[in-house]
Amino acid sequence: MYTSGKYSSRGPALIPRMKTKHRIYYITLFSVVLLGLIATGMFQFWPHSIESTADWTLDKRSVHDAPLIRLPVSSPIPERGDLSCRMHTCFDVYRCGYNPKNRIKVYIYPLQRFVDELGVPISSTGLSREYNDLLSAISDSDFYTDDVTRACLFIPSIDVLNQNSLRIRETAQALAMLPRWDKGMNHLLFNMLPGGPPDYNTALDVPRDRALLAGGGFSTWTYRQGYDVSIPVYSPLSADVEQPEKQPGPRRYFILSSQTAIHREYRAELERLKEENGEALLLLDKCSNLSQGAASARKRCYKGQVYDYPQILQESSFCVVLRGARLGQAALSDVLQAGCVPVILADSYILPFSEVLDWKRASVVIPEEKLSEMYTILKSIPHRQVEEMQRQAHWFWEAYFSSMKAIGLTTLQIINDRIYPYAARTYEQWNNPPVVKWSSVNSPLFLPLIPPRAPGFTAVVLTYDRVESLFRVITEISKVPSLAKLLVVWNNQNKSPPEESLWPKIGVPLKVVRTKENKLSNRFFPYDEIETEAVLAIDDDIIMLTSDELQFGYEYFNYLYTYKMPGDIKNWVDAHMNCEDIAMNFLVANITGKAPIKVTPRKKFKCPECTAIDGLSLDQTHMVERSECINKFASVFGTMPLKVVEHRADPVLYKDDFPEKLKSFPNIGSL
């Protein structure tokens, strides 16, 4: 900008002295600039796919390129995990610090290949596909940082998902060699298959100092509540098999058992249940005639009949998830995906993400000892509850089990919630499926409070310039005993409100607020002057109010009107000078899920002499426009939140044949 200004200002001085060669010079300059412009433009607006492919090929590397690290035999081994570790003792919270987004920063160690002195790798599989997916999901997420000094949580790239493929001692040594290990502080390990034969411990056996463990298959004795995170065992089938979602409802089988490695004692017990209850139960096992391999994982058999797995799970209401050698079972994930309610028989098992997920709404937990009573217990569950559980189960799978990404990010979110508990996700956010989130209403004023008499209400009168009528309204309202304050919203910018001495003398404080613009929405602005919970909103042309009649809005909804109302509605109201009251009703209904309450039989609200032209409600197009409003608002809210009710509130003795002076509100109804 600056340079060009200088250039053109110098222009006129140059031109008279210009010669032909100069002209050529200028033309060349011009064409060069033009060409440059075109080139830049091309570069700028060329489809970006080319670049990203270039990037992608650049990043596309082999695991074998990762640096090789040789572990000396004498390399230090971390201590075994400390069972008393909690966030306030074993986690360095200073690393996370305060940040306005309330989000932890996670660093992932670059991939290294660890081998022992003989060159044998520490793990038989190396980096697994699943762990790779998990790490790349985290690195693509908001949690990721590549700045190791700013990180709050560290994730080693050493894959410990499956303990069976690990050499325990060497893996531990490798962990201790990580540059930021520092006794495992703020390190997070992901493990899905802990323990090994013969005793199958329920937590990873690799010594790991103070590192947090996100483990599948914790028992109550190894799980450090509030420190570790219990995660599901990922089922690779879910990525492979496309299944249409099945709606909740009754299904062909009542109970299905599809696991292959069930202890013979339990299998015998299941057989007995099948004998007693017949067709309601389907008891599947491995197919003996099929060869081992990927194909056999997709088939199950019962008495020679072959069923497709996991599709068959969709045919049953309940699916048994029995403990195997380990507590965590990949079958749980398949079962949830099918929208089949898991019946979990694994004593002392800490269910996946139990810190935040309410499993009671998605599963049935039965002690192993009561396996024989399973049928009776499940039969006692009301079928509507079964449907809700089916829906909930599928939703849990979709949100938290379906991919390594889902599992990884959920784990990080749980840890994030512990570090910033005041910004934690709520129970509803974790547990309500989107269907429910849309249809449910959580009123922001949920406490059943009976409005107290003491604070009274604030009357808000919106006026333009009808002073005479306004004064009458004010005088009338001021007779109400519960009135605490009167607020006049002066909506006329061209005219000043009358002198203070001219206002009627009333017993309560009266405030006049002048607005900057003549907007109907001003009525619902949350003025600081409103100190009471209840607000009476009235127009200046309503003079037929007898002093007993009250119509309550809530101050809160005023606030909502200004700050929470979908943006375009507010603008619409201001532009059309109409419908602000309808908008308010929409909002209140949407937030509380309740209908408003009409009080007493008053219907005529306008004074007869106010038929002046400036009376808003008299405009010919008014009614038409108001119908339009309703349609417009309904489309913005996405649903029709308004509810129709057939009742109205009257005082208890209304219209009773009873001495008027004994009634609390005798003036009502004297139309």
Partner: protein, 739 residues
């Protein structure tokens, strides 16, 4: 001309340069960032790279489940091994609790008989009295699932006057001790100066602890119960309500964050309180400490003491408590402090600074919805943190403090019952409460999971689940007099109710001594009429949770009630808007009789009412279950013996649950034939004792509930055009106008 042309060329060239530099400028940052990325691509710490080579799955296909398990030890044996290994500090329900007794008899609690000479503190007396008065109590140890000692274990601070000596031997000598298996031990204080250990000073064996100020290290999850620290003055039943009377918007109060308490200078737990002065600003963050406590405080006094003490005396604790948005609850010598419950009741959102405290009832309460859990290590960030909390969130935190206070903490009874219910939920795992039931109104003590596991079967969760109640009702008519003539009111009533478009079925509860009338004596109706012979013919049987009631709404009727079809229809449409309340016709009121110092009952026409009698009322069928299973047999027996007051009791119950008044619909007040003077049959309403009995009932009920749960209302709901001067043809409920 030439010059002009040149000038033009020059100008356009200039413009092009400008454009170029502009576009280039746009381009440059993008290019730079791309370059950055490609450069870091070669550095070791980069975003996770995309690996081109095929990777192995973490578990091979044929290993999806291990084969070894089939030859492994029997799972039963493995469970037995667990029980022998996990003892003491590693106790869990699976290893240290015997479920078998509970399965046989249900969840029953036995309290050891008190021995003469045992000194028992008032608080512990209250705990024992609550258990003995609860529906879980059994006096037969053979039936018991849980045992509670009559030895006072509340205060295990050796320096305390309440400390019970020789507890070790006393406990070991108990005949049913069985190494503490299935025993529950209550404790408020343990350990003493200087280290305040959490050891109780005797071997608790396999017993469960219900303990205040327990730390997460010592807390055995799903086995122990963390209870709040409560004072000697904490009321046994009822309890004060929360202090929040109305919501204010914006929700900020005079102070942002306050605290007033002792400072310890040295020793365990002193650090946090000693550092509070850093955050104090004497404006909206007022954190006051005093060194003046104990006999020899002057000895330990530090440089800041005099200044702190002076500041401390300037403020009034009560004033601060009621006028602050947040209240700091830092640990004292022990982890829990009285400040916690005080703040909760005052609707001052507690800001916890007590690292490692297992918060009260943490197993079931989601404390993030009612408190701010701070970290002692981050004390200096606390003001910034609380200021960053959005006002919507403050509003909801504040209301939740009130809900939790009233649901679980306001009396010793609530604390004890919550403890027992938590343990019951563990014992009957498949019919236990979900977190939603514990954390939303009306709370776990009123939402009994044995009724149904489906939330939609309760009257409280329709909005949360986004569903509506069943669109029909079941009428239950309570019949006490024999069927003699065809013009009897019950038959008219039956016909009128059956005509309602919302009626699903009619149940006639035959509580008459005479035999059931023949089937053809009942009028033919379009809805099924089911006649049930009342159990023992007692009053309470009208509120039994009959399996035959399939709808959510119950229309409860006396046999002599006079109602038209329109009135029934209208009442039901109103109930659909208020499914958790009693909606009906006959309204009554209560009042405090200051002369006699007791509650009075009135059926006079007054300007308000607090009860709607169940002679013609609609309510949710869950209240049948609650009436039968929640109320103690002492009250139900009283009702049965008097054959009276069952409707008052129902109103007490529903108002105690909802904290709201019932709803009266339309003008109708006379709804009995007898009252209209047409017949003088020996109705129970004609009995002169009847009214006096109802006064007595009221006072008896109020004392059991610990407070008066009834709430007055001045509102009556009428059809929208009721008595309006418009054409009758425009009105939907025309019959209601004619009395």
């Amino acid at each position: 001309m030439q010059a002009k042309k040149r000038y033009l060329i020059l100008l356009s060239a200039g413009a092009c340069v400008l454009l170029l530099s502009f576009l280039g400028g746009l381009q440059l940052p993008a290019a730079r960032s791309r370059q950055d990325r490609s450069r870091t691509g070669h550095r070791p710490d980069q975003p996770w790279p995309h690996f081109s080579d095929p990777l192995h799955p973490f578990v091979p296909w044929d290993h999806t489940d291990t084969e070894e398990y089939n030859v492994h030890v029997s799972p039963r044996q493995k469970r037995d091994v667990n029980t022998s290994v996990y003892k003491g500090r590693r106790c869990r329900m699976d290893s240290c609790f015997d479920f078998s007794v509970c399965q046989r008899t249900g969840f029953k609690v036995y309290v050891y008989p008190q021995q003469k000479g045992d000194k028992i503190s008032e608080s512990y007396q209250n705990i024992l009295a609550t258990i003995e008065g609860s529906r879980f109590y059994t006096s037969d140890p053979g039936q018991a699932c849980l045992f509670v000692l009559s030895l006072d274990t509340l205060d295990r601070d050796q320096l305390s006057p309440q400390y019970v000596h020789n507890l070790k031997t006393k406990v070991q000598n108990l005949p049913l001790w069985n190494d503490g298996r299935n025993h529950l031990i209550f404790n408020l204080y343990s350990g003493t100066w200087p280290d305040y250990t959490e050891d109780l000073g005797f071997d608790i064996g396999q017993a469960m602890l219900a303990k205040a100020s327990i730390s997460t290290e010592n807390f055995r999850p799903n086995f122990d119960v963390s209870i709040p620290l409560f004072s000697k003055e904490h009321p046994r039943t009822g309890g004060e309500r929360g202090f929040l009377r109305y919501n204010s918007i914006p929700p900020f109060r005079k102070y942002m964050l306050v605290f007033k308490g002792k400072r310890y200078l040295t020793g365990i737990g002193s650090d946090t309180r000693n550092a509070l002065y850093h955050v104090h600003n004497a404006e909206d963050v007022v954190l006051l400490t005093t060194c003046k406590h104990g006999k020899d405080w002057q000895k330990h006094k530090d440089a800041r003491c005099d200044k702190d003490n002076a500041e401390y005396d300037k403020y009034d604790y009560k004033e601060m408590l009621h006028n602050s948005t947040f209240c700091l609850v830092p640990r004292g010598r022990r982890l829990g402090s009285f400040r916690f419950l005080e703040a909760l009741q005052a609707a001052c959102v507690p800001v916890m600074l007590s690292n490692g405290w297992e918060l009260p009832f943490s197993e079931i309460i989601d404390w993030n919805t009612a408190a701010v859990i701070g970290d002692e290590r981050l004390l200096l960030q606390i003001p910034t943190t609380v200021r960053s909390i959005h006002q919507d969130k403050i509003l909801s935190l504040r209301q939740q403090t009130q809900f939790l206070w009233e649901a679980y903490f306001s009396s010793v009874e609530k604390i004890v019952l919550t403890t027992l219910e938590i343990i019951q939920d563990r014992v009957l795992e498949h019919s236990s409460r979900s977190s939603l039931m514990w954390n939303s109104h009306p709370g776990g003590l009123f939402a009994l999971p044995q009724y149904s596991g489906y939330l939609g079967d309760f009257p409280f969760f329709y909005a949360t689940l986004g569903i509506k109640p069943h669109p029909k009702f079941t009428a239950v008519i309570h019949a006490v007099s024999p069927l003699v003539s065809q013009s009897q009111p019950i038959l008219k009533l039956l016909v009128a109710v059956a005509k309602s478009q919302y009626c699903a079925q009619i149940i006639v509860l035959w509580n008459c001594d005479k035999a059931l009338p023949a089937k053809h004596r009942w009028p033919a109706t379009s809805v099924p009429v089911i006649v049930i012979e009342g159990e023992n013919k007692v009053m309470s049987s009208r509120f039994l949770p009959y399996e035959t009631i399939v709808t959510d709404a119950v229309l409860s009727l006396d046999e002599d009630t006079v109602l038209s079809t329109t009135e029934v229809d209208f009442a039901f449409t109103v109930w659909q808007s208020f499914p958790e309340r009693i909606v009906g016709y006959p309204a009554r009121s209560h009042f405090w009789d200051s002369n006699k110092e007791r509650w009075g009952y009135t059926s006079k026409w007054t300007n308000d009412y607090s009860m709607v009698l169940t002679g013609a009322a609609i309510y949710h069928r869950y209240y049948h279950y609650l009436y039968t299973n929640y109320l103690p047999s002492s009250l139900k027996n009283m009702v049965d013996q008097l054959a009276n007051c069952e409707d008052i009791l129902m109103n007490f119950l529903v108002s105690a649950v909802t904290k709201l008044p019932p709803i009266k619909v339309t003008q109708k007040k006379q709804y009995k034939e007898t009252m209209m003077g047409q017949s003088s049959r020996a109705s129970r309403w004609a009995d002169p004792d009847h009214f006096a009995q109802r006064q007595t009932c009221m006072n008896k009920f109020a004392s059991w509930f610990g407070a008066m749960p009834l709430v007055h209302s001045q509102m009556r709901l009428d059809p929208v055009l009721f008595k309006d001067q418009v054409s009758i043809l425009r009105k939907k409920y025309r019959d209601i106008e004619r009395l």
